[in-house]
Subunit: 369 residues, 4 copies
């Protein structure tokens, strides 16, 4: 078997080894998949202006996020139903994150319980991604579980008042294999099987829609903050306007994200939004980004634009599909080494050396505000 | 048979089921088809800046056009000879429009009479698209028929002083099947058959050319307004200059349209013109747009740029070809649901929430005025 | 045989019917053929802003160039060795130009004599394209022949102090078929046969190089003007700076041309240069353009940018290859009709109605002056 | 065998004749190879504005670099292990450079000794490219060898504190054929064989990494200058900021280079950086450029942007692979003749006539400084 040398190599392995239902679910984006592609391609519109003849004999990638140190500024984004990628699912991911000393964000839609993931993650840094349920007690219970199990932040996804439209999932009538369950989805009404020809829709998506609260507002954020002491991070902010509102509502961090291009097709690539968000928050909260990060230079570019760290989603699933925990570690190791090399070759010995002047870019899209 | 999940799916069905003469006629654009393609692609130069954490539990798509309420701001553009797409033609379209509670614009070149369409449309909202004939009495008669049959506006096409050049129609020597007739074309000299090799041109187009008035001017608009109480809308405006003239000449509405790219190849995509026209009219008349609308986000973008509603042409023909009335309803239902989802995912509970700030865009073409 | 409906159709016919040596010679551009392709593609960066509701029942394409009326502003650019495209060569072209009442520019490298072409052209408008020879008496003699034979202007090509490098001609070792001769090339040392493997170059190009004067300067223009009363037009100007110099040196007209992309690869497309030249001359001399004109809308765009007329080169050769005189007439007829339609559909009844405001464009390349 | 007529032809020959290990090593760029491709493509974003009617009967390409005259401003960039391209390797290159009277830069990683190359180069102009070793005595010894052997400048590569990541080399586990040695790499620990499956990396690259000094700083430049009287040129500068620092640290020249896209993928194309560097140095030192130069017009563009000369790397290897010394001479002859033609066709009789006004360009990437 060919040993992968870059993250794109894992995608090939991943595509080969999973069945169509799973493969399409993980790969797809909303509608025409403009944004899912642009998330990756947009990084090419940012070019590097490396500095020479600085001492980079010791490149230090360490940073802190929400006050916790990690070895390198690349965390694991929350992705659903990881057991569909590998039997060990979230447990494998949690172990890999811990062994590499970076942060893992666990999805509400995990196929492993909050506590079991915590045990696998041990002393590692873990955050919990929260979907807000119609049933407030379910939401509160999830947060309490996360607190008890040592998760260090609540990451509220704010871009899913409704589930995005993915054509392939509609065509496949996406289903969960019968042995898998979304363990936190206590009121899941999908029967884990492919819906009949007549149904013509994904029962999983339908059930998701039914469970989640479409009335999500800034008051929801205030409500969550009122009964947890954990830092609250909002994931899915895509404008400077919302970033300012987030700061005003006391959030502790922002993840610039378009849900991997899976929600609203045609939104800007996250790297194209990052600068605007960073500018809007004026350093008052930490800003992170996910979407399309595939190489060490992508991380460098995101940090140059002001991100404190990036998160990767699909590549972790590719790593899982490849070799479980070892696969995820390999994915992290490769991009970590690429990032280290990119720092060295651009004259940055520490992450604080990574500045906006490192970039030249094509600003393709402008708004009229 | 694969159930279509997006409008592009219908195009495939459509392309398969019709013969070349019809298929090419409906699909083609003028000359090199630059504009017909750009109408669709230009939407990708407009990217979304969605807002989060607004209450979108109730998304209301209702709006009014010319004072009449419709359930969602997506109407049916006028297209010719719909029986060539399905035996029930305009009757099927009229029923679908009515059952979905949106507006249908009937073409002068319909294969069903003005009155018959009105009956099929019932209490639905219908407008009549008018070609101005050399013979003034024909024109006046058409308007009177429309008034009598409950059409609520006259939509004058202003971009066709001559018929555009479509290479495929020239190559196919486009003809109407012998059982079909343009019922309003009382002086039609085409014999509904494919012209001989020697003729080397479409007799339908030639006849059209002969019947229509090439002397169409703003005075024609004044003349039409002088003998009808119906609102008069001009369809085919592509500059701010003409939009201002339209307002000065008392028109009630403007449809920004390039005739689906079928008249003058190389004109700007309609979405690229919309903003300029909206700015020019300064809210004095309603502005609509057609051309290249294929997805819910396209509608969102058009409304963000100031359109009161959009109209779709070819997708309706694809729906007809697919399953007649049911097919058209399915087309409307899919794009309506996509639009609703796009509103929810961009934080818009009502169409009035859809603002210019929702967009970031690449302004590719500028004029030197 | 398929009847061509647009100029691109002729290119297919042309490509099929000629042998590789001739086909490549006519089609090719210099080096990587960036400019030869961009000449055509650049027109797509100019989009139309058509005006509606103007009386276009009578579209008048007539104009004058250098004081002579032509039926439409599309002339025939000078191209070499036309008998290689059709046995009747320049005679066929001259008859077609005359019958269509437009201007033909005869190339110095014609395979028919100046006088014979004049006879075929009859009362038509003809100009003579002049290459300046090292041997001044040859140059003077050519001008005198042109004067005697009723040519109405001398068009001096100024972009060929050396012959451009065409890779395919180098690979083919381009040769003239043995029965053809450049009749004005009195000192031609090429033997009209394909050079041997060892020679590895085109003897035709080598001979051309030897005959032409590489010391061509503005003084040459002054010298030519000193002994002819005919208007002197310079062909090959590509900057505003040179356009101003041309006016200062008393030229009567300028053809913006990059020699069909055959001389210096990487120069701007002519349509991208036209505006700059028009601005520089401030109406003091007439400006024409050739290069990449393939459709009626291309002509419209060129006139909107300020050209008095356009000239077409390769399409005429395609017409020749297709059917000799009839083929050239058909080429001219098609683009003339397309131009007429484009005028009508953009609201222009006369060529003077064609203004810069008709265009929106992408200005891709800028200079730092 | 087809005789090559342009440099791209040599690439084909080269690709065919070498084995995969060598071919990939020479061709590849870092990671996704964005920059290696952009180096070439970026030249197309620079278009020419040629001037006409200047006397170009005598085109003089001579120039000086660091005070030494060369026949044309195209030198040979340093490339490693040239014997892998042809048995005579650097000796063949040195003879070709000398016979064509241009400058050759010898790589530290040559497979021929500094002295042997000097002998082959004879009275030719040669510079020595220096990698700074951890072991300072090795570095000093190399400089002394170069001085003794008549090299006229020391070119310090500053962009390689670590070796870039080339995916193909990782996949191939790049190795040197056992009969070849990097003669200056006295502490080379690679065993010249393909590493085992387990090793999964290039031992050559690993050894390189071990030998080179990652602490390279501006102090290193000062240190080198302190014990050599030769001019010191820094190769690998990619920002105006570093160019200013270079001048402040007393360097004598700058080569704008991104190491042929082999170090940090995603850096700007060198032609896109050149103008910024030229502006920053304000004429205080000579500026050269390498990367993507494949045609005469590329040289013209680089000089128009302010380069004193360009250097070509890969095309020389292609020439070697093709026919050793003769092949390199042919490569140089072709691009020299193309450059001469480009000068003539743009109105430049001397290299000093090549000015910025010769260009129109698309400035795609901007920095926020």
């Amino acid at each position: 078997m060919l040993k992968p040398v870059c993250l794109a190599d894992f995608e090939e392995h991943f595509l080969k080894s999973l069945d169509r239902n799973a493969r399409d679910y993980f790969s797809s984006g909303a509608n025409q998949e403009i944004t899912v592609k642009d998330n990756v391609e947009a990084f090419n519109r940012y070019r590097l202006r490396p500095r020479m003849l600085r001492d980079v004999s010791n490149v230090n990638m360490k940073t802190t996020i929400m006050g916790n140190e990690i070895d390198f500024p690349i965390g694991i984004a929350p992705t659903a139903v990881q057991k569909m990628a590998h039997p060990e699912g979230e447990v494998a991911t949690a172990r890999a994150a811990s062994s590499m000393n970076t942060c893992m964000i666990l999805s509400t839609w995990s196929t492993t319980s909050i506590e079991e993931v915590a045990q696998a993650n041990g002393s590692g840094l873990r955050w919990f991604q929260l979907y807000v349920f119609k049933d407030k007690s379910v939401t509160m219970d999830l947060i309490k579980q996360a607190e008890r199990s040592g998760y260090k932040a609540i990451v509220i996804t704010v871009d899913t008042p409704r589930v995005g439209k993915k054509l392939v999932d509609d065509r496949n009538r996406f289903y969960l294999p019968s042995h898998l369950h979304r363990v936190n989805a206590t009121t899941d009404t999908s029967d884990n099987t492919q819906s009949s020809q007549e149904a013509q829709e994904s029962l999983v998506h339908k059930s998701t829609q039914t469970m989640l609260d479409p009335k999500l507002t800034w008051d929801t954020i205030t409500w969550v903050k009122s009964f947890t002491k954990l830092p609250v991070i909002v994931k899915g902010i895509l404008t400077g306007e919302d970033a300012k509102l987030a700061v005003q509502h006391g959030v502790d961090g922002i993840i610039v994200s378009n849900h991997g291009g899976r929600q609203l097709d045609g939104v800007l690539a996250t790297i194209d939004v990052l600068g605007e968000v960073v500018e809007a928050v004026e350093g008052r909260v930490e800003v992170y980004v996910d979407g399309g990060v595939r190489q060490g230079t992508d991380v460098l570019k995101a940090l140059a634009l002001g991100a404190k760290a990036v998160f990767i989603g699909r590549p972790v699933l590719w790593g899982l599909a490849y070799q479980g925990q070892t696969g995820v570690e390999e994915v992290l190791r490769i991009i970590k080494e690429e990032f280290k090399l990119a720092m060295a070759l651009s004259g940055c010995a520490n992450v604080t050396d990574i500045q906006l002047s490192l970039l030249a870019f094509e600003k393709r899209y402008s708004s009229k505000l």
